[in-house]
């Protein structure tokens, strides 16, 4: 049987070729083509601007072809007068197979081969006649073997292009749910002119009744081996034809569903409703392979249910009303002419955004950790939304603050949320970002003066507490609660130069209160951090109350640190160790960040009377080193730290060595005071008054106990007198060769 070929254009002579690329290809095929299995067959003029070269290819194919490529294939290479287009390569055989990597054409016209993986502008850079012939030959060879479509390449869709969008529910088993109770959809695009955008009815925030609801006809097909792209259906019969090869009789399905709709909804409601057909199509790589992917397509029917029902002979009008016709086995009188007039729009089915999608797009592992957040101010709100966009979906928000207009400047919420609880509004925002967000809200501040532990912070059921309250009271309260889960605290320094990140270890051996002390110590001992706790540059009063004060800090700074906090959380969430990190940048810079990780030494803690003294081995080692340097004499100095009078706790953070005018011998030490006042003031200034004088330390010689001597007791009396004025105890720390002793001055009373 003679091969039937498409007839395109008018034959011309070689001399009539005027397009340079066409001439080059003709010359090459004529002289070199046989080496590449290609012979020149003729030239064509196609319209005014196009010229074509007919080539005959001897193909390279295995005995058993995946796609019916013939021994010889005739192709037409069409060049356009505009040089910025790639030539179209059209197989001319009328029964050329529908196979992957062919480009859609108008209905009834031959398809062209999809030869270029790269963009046109890149392919044009290196295209030569030889490369073009190689590509065509390669296409035939690989298509015949079924290997053109890479094993790692996603399967070809059935159809491409769409007139609008349909957002699929995010539930993992949405198809199962759809089988039993098809989801209704709602059109959120306001104008018929715009391309429709359909969302599940349940997620439509503000459904406007004047926009139609769409009832769903859900169809699951038999598996389909991926192949050539097909034309999108433009009317109902074309949609019917598209689904026949995959085992779907759309007419029967429509009749049955329309009959149900009319029975369930009644005449008025159902006549005007619209229909969307959702098709779930399992795809295989070849006829014999397993299902690799399931594609979902949606088709919007351009007539209301009543009109479709009449055309399908399942409804008819009786006295102005529609009534159903009993579904019987005889062939219904389908009005094909009417059905042809019902347009169909293909909708691009897209998944709603959920934590899986967010994690995938972020390239981060998804976490199901339940996170309690305390404090949803400017930093907290921005960190939480950042983390939500990274795929974190389970939250419990604690914040009793209401949104005020001035908050809009640095908060993710806006003026429209004024007067609402920040926690509630932010929860709504998180649910808007991820369809599967699970957010609980406690619209009240933590009562940090109470012993009670609110629900949502306990170890059981919550994986983390994120403290963004920027309140020492909150972080200390968290630190003191044994039944609370592991905590992370993030806050900015008042001038915005630094972000402080404190993370408790998994066992909570190092808690936020001590980690806070360590960051002070680091600031004291790191010269470039000396200014980070400087006061804010300006304050702004936004209300009449004494506390209605905000401070000057640009949003770009908050956003920068919120991003760094989110990154820190992303990287450190699975790290079991405690961490104190200071991220520092200068305001005049563009975000160059210096990272300081503070060394965390084992804690040394002792209950002395009703006070708990806490320090660490770092400080004891430091003092022991000073002691050794001065041996055989004693030595000493002042202790730096802070008192938490509410929790009756003394933190010993650092110490100063002996002032130059100190007197010392092997049995005696008298601490001088030269420069000491300035030194202590400097410490207070560097730490925003958080670290202060808390007591004295001195060493005892070798072979001497660390119990206070008679001299020491005298010193303690002096301390008690001074500190007692402030109702605080004075601390004395005695350092021996291997041991140490804490003595509190108020023990003397």
């Amino acid at each position: 049987m003679k091969t039937q070929l498409f007839q395109i254009g008018q034959p011309i002579n070689f001399q009539e070729l005027i397009l340079p690329q066409a001439m080059q290809l003709a010359n090459f095929a004529n002289t070199q083509g046989s080496q590449l299995g290609c012979t020149l067959e003729g030239f064509l003029q196609i319209g005014h601007e196009k010229q074509g070269i007919c080539l005959k290819f001897e193909t390279e194919r295995p005995q058993h072809c995946e796609h019916a490529i013939e021994r010889y294939e005739m192709v037409l290479v069409v060049f356009n007068a505009t040089a910025n287009q790639l030539p179209l390569v059209i197989p001319l055989r009328k029964d050329f197979p529908l196979c992957p990597h062919t480009n859609l054409s108008k209905r009834g016209e031959p398809r062209s081969l999809c030869l270029y993986a790269e963009p046109t502008e890149l392919a044009l850079l290196s295209l030569t006649p030889a490369k073009l012939i190689h590509r065509i030959q390669h296409w035939f060879t690989q298509t015949a073997s079924g290997t053109l479509h890479g094993k790692d390449q996603p399967l070809e869709p059935l159809i491409v292009g769409a007139d609008g969008w349909l957002v699929l529910p995010t539930s993992e088993n949405w198809a199962e749910a759809m089988r039993h109770n098809p989801t209704e959809f709602y059109r959120i695009s306001p104008d018929e002119v715009v391309r429709p955008y359909l969302v599940p009815w349940s997620s439509a925030k503000q459904a406007d009744p004047k926009f139609p609801r769409f009832l769903t006809i859900f169809v699951e097909t038999t598996p389909h081996a991926h192949g050539a792209l097909l034309h999108n259906p433009t009317n109902l019969p074309e949609l019917f034809d598209l689904l026949v090869p995959v085992g779907v009789n759309l007419w029967d399905l429509l009749r049955q569903r329309l009959s149900e709709i009319f029975s369930n909804l009644g005449n008025t409601a159902s006549e005007s409703c619209k229909i969307v057909v959702i098709v779930r199509l399992p795809k295989t790589r070849s006829n014999s392979s397993e299902v690799e992917r399931i594609d979902t397509y949606a088709f919007l029917l351009g007539a209301n249910a009543g009109e479709i029902g009449i055309a399908l002979d399942v409804l008819h009008r009786q006295g102005g009303k529609l009534v159903t016709i009993a579904l019987i086995n005889t062939a219904p009188a389908t009005d094909i002419e009417q059905l042809n007039k019902i347009p169909v729009n293909t909708l691009n089915c897209i998944s709603d955004c959920d934590s899986n999608l967010a994690a995938s797009l972020s390239g981060t592992p998804r976490t199901d950790d339940m996170i309690a957040v305390v404090g949803l101010g400017s930093l907290g709100s921005q960190v939480v939304t950042n983390l939500t966009r990274l795929g974190m979906k389970k939250w419990h928000f604690f914040d009793g603050d209401l949104m005020s207009p001035h908050n809009s400047v640095r908060h993710v919420l806006s003026r429209s949320d004024t007067g609402t609880h920040k926690a509630t509004a932010l929860a709504e925002l998180c649910r808007d970002i991820l369809a599967d967000s699970e957010v609980q809200v406690t619209s009240a501040d933590l009562d940090v003066l109470s012993e009670l532990l609110p629900d949502g912070l306990q170890r059981n059921g919550t994986d983390w507490v994120f403290d963004f309250s920027a309140s020492m009271a909150v972080s200390r309260w968290i630190a003191k609660r044994d039944h609370i889960t592991r905590a992370l605290s993030a806050f900015l320094t008042p001038n915005g130069e630094a972000l402080i990140l404190l993370v408790e270890d998994k066992e909570r051996a190092f808690r936020l209160d001590w980690l806070e002390m360590l960051h002070y110590r680091s600031i004291l001992n790191t010269e470039f951090l000396h200014g980070v706790l400087a006061p804010p540059r300006g304050k702004l009063r936004y209300g009449w109350s004494c506390r209605d004060v905000s401070f000057e800090m640009p949003q770009d700074v908050v956003a920068h640190w919120a991003a760094m906090t989110a990154r820190f959380v992303r990287k450190e969430l699975n790290n079991a160790n405690a961490k104190v990190r200071i991220l520092h940048t200068k305001e005049e810079g563009y975000g160059e960040v210096t990272v300081t990780d503070v060394k965390i030494a084992p804690i040394v803690s002792e209950q002395v009377g009703d006070w708990k003294i806490t320090t660490d081995l770092w400080l004891l080692e430091k003092l022991r080193k000073l002691r050794t340097q001065k041996l055989p004499s004693e030595t000493g100095g002042v202790l730096l730290g802070t008192f938490d009078t509410f929790h009756r706790q003394i933190y010993l953070v650092d110490a100063l060595s002996a002032p130059l005018d100190s007197q010392a011998s092997a049995e005696y030490f008298e601490r001088g005071f030269a420069g000491l006042t300035d030194d202590v003031r400097h410490v207070q200034m560097l730490t925003a008054d958080q670290i202060q004088y808390v007591g004295e330390w001195h060493s005892h010689p070798p072979s001497c106990s660390t119990n206070p001597s008679a001299q020491d007791l005298k010193l303690l009396c002096w301390q008690a007198e001074l500190m007692g004025l402030d109702a605080l105890p004075g601390v004395m720390l005695i350092i021996g060769e291997v041991s140490h002793s804490f003595v509190l001055s108020h023990q003397l009373y």
Partner: protein, 377 residues
Amino acid sequence: MHEIIFYPIGNGEACLIKLNNGRLIAFDYADLANPNDPNDRRMPLRENFKQDIGWYGHFTKRRTIDVLAITHGDLDHVKAIPEHFWLRHAKKYQSDDRIKFDEMWVPAALIVEEGSEEDTRIIRQEARHRFLAKEGILVFSRPEALNAWLQKQPDGVDKNIENYRHLCRDAGTLVPSFSKAQDGVEFFIHSPFASRTEDGLLDRNADCIVVQAVFVEGGRETKVLLSGDIPNKDGEFDEIIRTTKRHGKQHRLEWDVLDVPHHCSYLSLAPEKGTYKTKPTEEVKWLLEQGTQRSIMVCSSKEIPAETTDQPPHVETLRAYKEYCDAKDGDWRVTMEFPSKQGKVERTRVEITANGAKLIKHAGNAAPISTTAVRAG
């Protein structure tokens, strides 16, 4: 994927089978090219063969092939083997630039025949050495065919033929060192074989190995008939076909790829050349019809002349083969005509894929130059 490479060496045979598990089998090896003749188009074999076995690999340099099968001792099937391969029987054939082979396959005739000359004689010495050493050889024969020769060996040689039985493999059986499960291929031995006559068993066709290789790739079997120089002048080929049919093993004569015997000589089809087209005997005709749809015939020969000639290849025989080839929509290839009858010749490659056999038709048909994105934004 397995691959079979037929080298364009004129009227001669050199074929390399590359299995997908890395094992290599050479079916004949003859370097016939004359380096001093600029008009000699035949491919020089040594460097090209070394390249194909991975001698010059970047990471592993292959020095050994698994099998060197010698279908028979004619020079157009063995020339230069003593120059290019490492032979165990004498030091002078052992240098680092030589290719080693673990096992050699030979017909019994190669061992027992006297009066061989040139390279054939040296190969015979190697075969005899390996046989007596009882390792590195498979003789396609019944052991009895070697007994007379064995008894003539000098004293001190083990003359009990039973002790050599494991080195022999008779027609109608499979080569033991390959299997479809382990290697994706099995070799069924058609020839040499013994015929039953009134006088009992008589060894005929003793001088040429014929095997059917059955490859498995992606669950699909592809059958290749390697026929060497099997003649049919006196009905030798007919006899193989008849015997196979008599044993009910017709499927052992099915083929997807036919290695056209004896460089397209009419003598492999029939005793008569024919005036326009050689008419094959009934048995050979039947065999040619066993080719599957889109099967491949590869003829290791010179360019086929347009006119009749005395020496093969014979144009009359070509016409006969082409008739059967076209009937199956098959591919026909003459090794010295690829990619064309003039200029430089290329290897003929047949790929054994999950989609069956595929003849590579386009010389240097590398994957198209496709740029990948090197910039992201």
